[in-house]
């Protein structure tokens, strides 16, 4: 690139290079215009808004750090953060483990691989809104399939989404249903592990369990880390299913962070406070991404 810069400077008269450069900038005009209008501008404005009080009807009033101070003392903010963290840190590892286990099973030269793959993957194709209605029916206390089946074996099932103790757990169970998405990624990674490594491990006397931990998991760890990170980032922003099924209840047992942000922005019209919440979310997601990248440096094996 550096030599190119020099070349370019020395030969401004070279029509070829000038045309190339002009085409490059022209091709970027739509994106850059969009970036300024829809990304850079809003980002700066949002940061400023987070230091103001703004109810849309009157112009924003700067209040310094008040929003952030209020946020630290807001018990509901902490409750929503706790719920989101529990949901994320429990459901994502479970989802990764289940998806990986499915991929390992399908990687044993099973008959009808593509049919099995479809069976496990298909729930991930269901729109989240449809699965929200489906699951609120399945886990309905009186009429839901789950409790009806439990009743047949003489267990009286809990009130699932309607119970403060069970609601968050039920969302975690619901999220396991879409583990097949990760499975597809792991399956591709597993198929990329060279068989020579397994042969070598067998010759060294490693049993199946040892082969799994010494060969399979390290060789597929980049895929595992990637899906884990995407999963954490995504689940921290969970909104739709919670909004439709419980709207945060019962007694805030499933109040999630983004739902709380939405309430402040669009129910209470506190755009300043909601902006502060958004920036805290940004900081959290940034921190989590950074952390998992740091940890991965030690744990994840990359082929050079």
């Amino acid at each position: 690139m550096l030599t190119f810069h020099r070349q370019w400077r020395d030969s401004w008269r070279s029509k070829l290079l000038r045309d190339e450069m002009l085409f490059g900038y022209a091709a970027l005009i739509p994106y850059l215009a969009g970036f300024l209008i829809f990304v850079a501008g809003p980002l700066a404005y949002s940061l400023w808004l987070s230091f103001t009080q703004y109810n849309i009807l009157q112009p924003p009033v700067p209040v310094g750090l008040d929003n952030y101070k209020a946020l630290i003392e807001d018990p509901l903010m902490w409750k929503s953060l706790e719920n989101t963290a529990v949901y994320s840190l429990v459901s994502v590892p479970l989802q990764v483990i289940l998806g990986y286990a499915l991929a390992l099973m399908l990687n044993q030269q099973v008959k009808g691989l593509s049919a099995w793959r479809t069976v496990y993957y298909v729930p991930a194709v269901v729109p989240i809104v449809a699965s929200a209605y489906l699951f609120s029916y399945l886990f309905n206390a009186d009429t839901g399939l789950v409790n009806l089946l439990l009743k047949m074996v003489r267990i009286s099932g809990p009130n699932w989404f309607g119970s403060p103790d069970w609601a968050l757990r039920t969302f975690i169970i619901m999220n396991l249903w879409v583990s097949g998405g990760g499975m597809i990624v792991y399956l591709a990674a597993l198929q990329g592990v060279p068989t020579a490594l397994y042969d070598a491990a067998k010759i060294d006397g490693a049993n199946a369990w040892q082969r799994l931990w010494a060969v399979t998991v390290p060789m597929t760890s980049p895929a595992l880390l990637f899906m884990f990170m995407i999963g954490i980032i995504g689940s921290f922003q969970v909104f739709t299913s919670v909004f439709i099924i419980t709207s945060g209840g019962p007694v805030n047992a499933t109040l999630m962070y983004v739902l709380y942000l939405y309430r402040h922005g669009w129910s209470y019209l506190q755009m300043g406070y909601a902006s502060a919440l958004a920036w805290v979310l940004f900081a959290i997601i940034f921190g989590l991404t950074y952390l998992s990248l740091r940890v991965s440096g030690r744990l994840v094996h990359y082929e050079v």
Binding site: E20, V39, V110, Y120, V129, V178, I285
Partner: protein, 294 residues
């Protein structure tokens, strides 16, 4: 090694056989757990109301009431909402397939000062959660009088604001040998011609994946339509269901019964399912390529 030599062949075979049986048992068992919610969805959508609450649960609707769907369509504005959704899906898809690919092409192939710095900027925007833009963008679109129209949900994407797809396509373009470009240039093609006639036709796998995930993401999108589309007439399918329920209650009707809600959910699920089954190969490739789960 010595251990396995000591085992008789019969023992090994038996162990292997038992392992296979256990494997298929696990696959079938888990398969039932994964598929039964979907079967229940479809079966409930065809049941008479009396059977929805039956105990023990009944899997086969008796009688099979396809008329549930017709009943639902009388009050639920399916075609209108589906049309609204398709307008948004089509608009964003045009943006993703053309603007993002053109941007990706510039980053992958054209040499100009500041190119790499700009690309790093694109990557950096990947880190920012959507909710940070949500409020200022809402205020902007409100100022522009774009609320209750599909513009807020289309225009940013027409201007290529999908950094992940730009990244994905740039990476793909870079795997296409540059010799093709040179050959085309010698034959008198310009930069845009190379993009249109060489790179795009060679990029079906990535364009297919982007098209599929654009369809899935915007067919299912909930938060943005919820914020921008308050007027029932303008709403997409994903949010129209909630409005439909709310309007029924407001009108004093009894809440929709589960068989009707399941019928609406099936209607919402059917198009993505069809895309999945008809484009399964691209779909799976796309999941592997992107890590997007569908």
């Amino acid at each position: 090694m010595s251990q396995s030599v000591q085992r008789s062949d019969a023992e090994l075979l038996l162990g292997r056989y038992a392992g296979r049986v256990a494997l298929y048992f696990a696959l079938v068992g888990l398969g039932i757990v994964f598929v039964s919610p979907l079967l229940w969805l479809v079966s409930s959508s065809l049941k008479p109301e009396s059977q929805v609450l039956a105990y023990p649960p009944q899997w086969i609707p008796r009688p099979v009431r396809f008329i549930n769907y017709a009943e639902v369509m009388q009050t639920f504005p399916f075609w209108r909402s589906a049309w609204n959704t398709m307008v948004i899906v089509t608009g964003t898809m045009v943006g993703h397939l053309f603007t993002c690919s053109l941007t990706a092409y510039a980053f992958a192939r054209i040499r100009f000062p500041l190119r790499d710095a700009l690309f790093v900027m694109v990557l950096a925007t990947l880190m920012i959660p959507y909710h940070v833009y949500l409020i200022p963008q809402y205020l902007l679109f409100r100022e522009l009088n774009w609320l209750n129209s599909s513009k807020p949900l289309i225009v940013p994407f027409l201007l290529g604001q999908a950094p992940f797809y730009i990244f994905l396509m740039r990476q793909f373009f870079r795997t296409i040998p540059k010799e093709y470009d040179d050959a085309a240039r010698i034959d008198g093609s310009g930069w845009f011609g190379i993009y249109l006639r060489i790179l795009l036709p060679l990029s079906y796998p990535v364009l297919g994946a982007v098209a599929i995930f654009t369809f899935m993401a915007h067919w299912n999108d909930f938060l943005a339509p919820l914020i921008y589309l308050n007027e029932p007439k303008k709403q997409t399918l994903a949010i129209a269901i909630r409005t439909w329920e709310a309007l029924r209650l407001q009108a004093g009707a009894k809440p929709a019964s589960w068989n009707h809600i399941m019928a609406v959910s099936v209607l919402l699920t059917l198009p993505p399912m069809l895309v999945f089954f008809f484009a399964q190969r691209y779909f799976i490739q796309g999941v592997v390529m992107t890590g997007i789960k569908g």
